[in-house]
């Protein structure tokens, strides 16, 4: 069932990007639609599973070593797992969760446009950032959306993790950004 769901996401994205290419639907519109799905799923898992079970009910823990610790995967891990599964299915689009202050260094900005976009959404809360960039010989439409600390669980973890470069995060603040890329060729 999970495999089918991922296939459906990939199919949707493929159709969406095909429509974008053939009928002139702007890449930005496609990226915005993808973001709505990703953002909603991310918030739902964070709020309804992690916050509820680890903070509100205190019946489970969440851990980056969820397998060893018999704990819930962290929201950022859930997001990454989804992104990697999509990469198994399609190269029609890709997405990542990045930050200017990442706990995991590989989640920091990796391209000049990522850095510019992450700084923009951090400085302009609620606004998105759009651009184009050349990567690996292909041109991409790149959209960057703000990623907010929606609940207490987000800030508790980020402010206490030993590898976190930022310890003053507050609920409602921008933690980083969701980066969506669509190949333009």
């Amino acid at each position: 069932m999970k495999r089918r769901s991922l296939s459906m996401v990939a199919l949707f994205a493929t159709l969406a990007t095909a429509v974008a290419a053939s009928e002139g639907v702007p890449f930005q519109r496609v990226a915005d639609m993808l973001y709505q799905v990703m953002s909603a799923d991310r918030e739902v898992y964070t709020r309804m599973v992690v916050q509820r079970l680890t903070i509100d009910e205190e019946v489970l823990t969440a851990s980056e070593h969820y397998d060893d610790d018999l704990a819930l995967p962290l929201p950022s891990q859930m997001f990454r797992f989804g992104a990697e599964r999509v990469m198994d299915e399609t190269d029609e689009f890709s997405y990542s969760l990045l930050s200017l202050a990442p706990i995991n260094k590989k989640s920091g900005p990796g391209t000049p446009l990522e850095k510019e976009g992450l700084e923009y959404v951090a400085d302009n809360p609620g606004e998105n950032f759009y651009g184009e960039e050349d990567l690996g010989g292909d041109r991409y439409f790149t959209a960057i959306y703000p990623d907010f600390a929606v609940v207490e669980a987000c800030v508790t973890c980020h402010n206490s993790h030993k590898d976190s470069p930022r310890r003053d995060l507050k609920v409602g603040e921008v933690m980083g950004g969701i980066v969506i890329r669509i190949p333009m060729d």
Binding site: M87, S94, K106
Partner: protein, 491 residues
């Protein structure tokens, strides 16, 4: 040059060309065309080129490389997923990682593992210089020397060779795991391998066990010396598996049906019917990899002749003669690259090689079966080791179940699945690299530090751990130090 010699050279060249073309495009043994010796991991498949290289022509070199890499994943992808791969291909396919594609393209297995290049092949079939980590971890945010003071003086050729990191599998090496297992005594107070102990206690309920009088088989089979004694004391009899369960499958088990359907030598498929996890995992290791479902079948020479426009022009007898050699289903001891006993050279590997089919004695399969073929210093030294003494004590009943350490304890790892202990028959699984042995085996009795040190001490491994490690892997010290320093910083 005399014309006669020129004609001779031309004739030899034409014959060689015809032979090569026939072997490449129609059929026949192509091993003579190998561009270099195949690694130990794949040499059993040398005559089955299509397993790795596919069956169709490729548009260009890129397509050919991608096809080879897809073949790698066909057999190794599940293993990498199980290892919680630290550098998963799917992560590096994201175009944001394009900057790394030029440094070390982790999307392709062949970036680090090139076959047929023995002159540059290192442990783990790695064909890059040992300092390959420097490609991505020596500058910018990924510069480990800048972020980890402990690593400032470390050289990149030691990342993966000093017992600290692996490119794929770091389940026993990640920082929090190191910290969690710091300061443990080198030997547990009650050293018992838990899953071995649990497995010893598992068996069929006594009420279903069969006795000698229950055996149903043709008279001549029942009369074979020792067979009834072996079978009635076996796990098969204990689990209500009568003679027909293997020798006459599919019948109702009555004497007439069993005699009518009797097969003197049951095939591997019969074992697989009941022992599916064991046969599946056997095909993942070097003992049984020729039975892997992804191994390509021999080419049909008629298809090759057809593609050359020669269909119907070549007699059937010639076409048959051009067939690929059939890949033997079973690995033979003679083909092994490890030292083997001379008197084992004619044996082949199948279930019965280790499990005497009627006694089904896993104790024999756990030690004596291994040493009946393997003849290397590690195997020979085992019989002088504390592990072997514990094994003998367990068999004698003077040590509790799980106290003994057999070959199988370390090389055939166990997992618990829904309350049942399942033994992997992929005897290579805990060796690629050997830190994979730590979690399912070593840690039940030894500390992580002792385990890391022992597995990094090559002479000690050869001596089968008959002494204490003379190497100290510093990763736990560094991890603890960093965590302590971080705690001080946090106040």
């Amino acid at each position: 040059m005399p014309a006669r010699i020129i004609w001779l050279l031309v004739t030899v060249a034409l014959i060689a060309g015809a032979f090569g073309a026939t072997a490449l495009f129609v059929g026949g043994d192509r091993r003579v065309l190998l561009i270099g010796a195949t690694t130990d991991a794949h040499h059993q498949l040398e005559m089955s080129c299509e397993t790795c290289h596919g069956t169709t022509a490729f548009a260009d070199a890129v397509a050919a490389e991608q096809a080879v890499n897809k073949a790698c994943r066909n057999c190794h992808e599940d293993e990498l997923d199980d290892a919680d791969d630290s550098h998963p291909r799917r992560e590096f396919r994201n175009p944001r990682m394009a900057v790394y594609w030029e440094k070390l393209d982790a999307r392709l297995c062949t970036t680090c593992h090139i076959e047929h290049r023995p002159e540059i092949t290192l442990a783990g079939a790695v064909t890059l210089p040992l300092d390959f980590c420097s490609a991505c971890h020596s500058e910018g945010d990924q510069d480990v020397r800048a972020h980890r003071p402990s690593h400032a003086a470390a050289t990149f050729d030691t990342c993966a060779s000093a017992g600290c990191h692996n490119f794929h599998d770091n389940r026993a090496l990640y920082e929090d795991f190191l910290v969690k297992h710091a300061d443990e005594p080198w030997l547990a107070a009650s050293p018992i391998h838990g899953l071995s102990a649990l497995g010893r206690g598992q068996g069929a309920p006594a009420e279903v066990a069969l006795t000698r009088d229950d055996a149903v088989a043709p008279a001549n089979a029942l009369a074979a010396p020792g067979i009834l004694d072996d079978w009635s004391g076996s796990g098969h009899a204990a689990a209500d598996v009568n003679c027909g369960g293997c020798h006459a499958t599919g019948g109702d088990g009555n004497t007439g049906t069993v005699e009518a359907n009797w097969i003197e030598t049951p095939s591997l498929a019969v074992c697989e019917d009941c022992h599916r996890p064991q046969t599946r995992t056997l095909a993942l290791g070097r003992h049984g990899m020729r039975q892997h479902p992804k191994i390509a079948q021999p080419r049909d020479p008629r298809r090759g002749l057809s593609s050359l426009g020669l269909e119907g022009l070549v007699p059937d007898a010639v076409a048959d003669w051009l067939s690929d050699p059939v890949l033997p289903l079973r690995m033979t001891v003679a083909e092994a690259r490890l030292p083997m006993k001379p008197d084992a050279v004619h044996r082949s590997l199948h279930c019965g090689s280790c499990h005497a089919p009627h006694s089904a004695d896993t104790r024999h399969a756990a030690v004596e079966a291994c040493s009946s073929c393997h003849d290397d210093p590690h195997t020979r030294a085992y019989f002088e080791s504390a592990h072997y003494e514990l094994w003998r004590n367990e068999l004698a009943g003077t040590a509790p179940p799980g106290a003994g350490v057999s070959c199988a304890t370390c090389h055939m790892t166990k997992t618990e699945q829904r309350g049942r202990v399942v033994t992997s028959h992929n005897q290579n699984d805990s060796l690629r690299p050997n830190e994979r042995m730590i979690r399912p085996v070593c840690l039940d009795c030894h500390s992580l530090q002792f385990s890391l040190d022992a597995l990094a001490d090559v002479p000690l491994i050869e001596a089968n751990f008959t002494d204490r490690p003379k190497i100290h892997v510093e990763s736990i010290d560094w991890a603890v130090s960093r965590t302590r320093d971080q705690a001080v910083t946090d106040g």
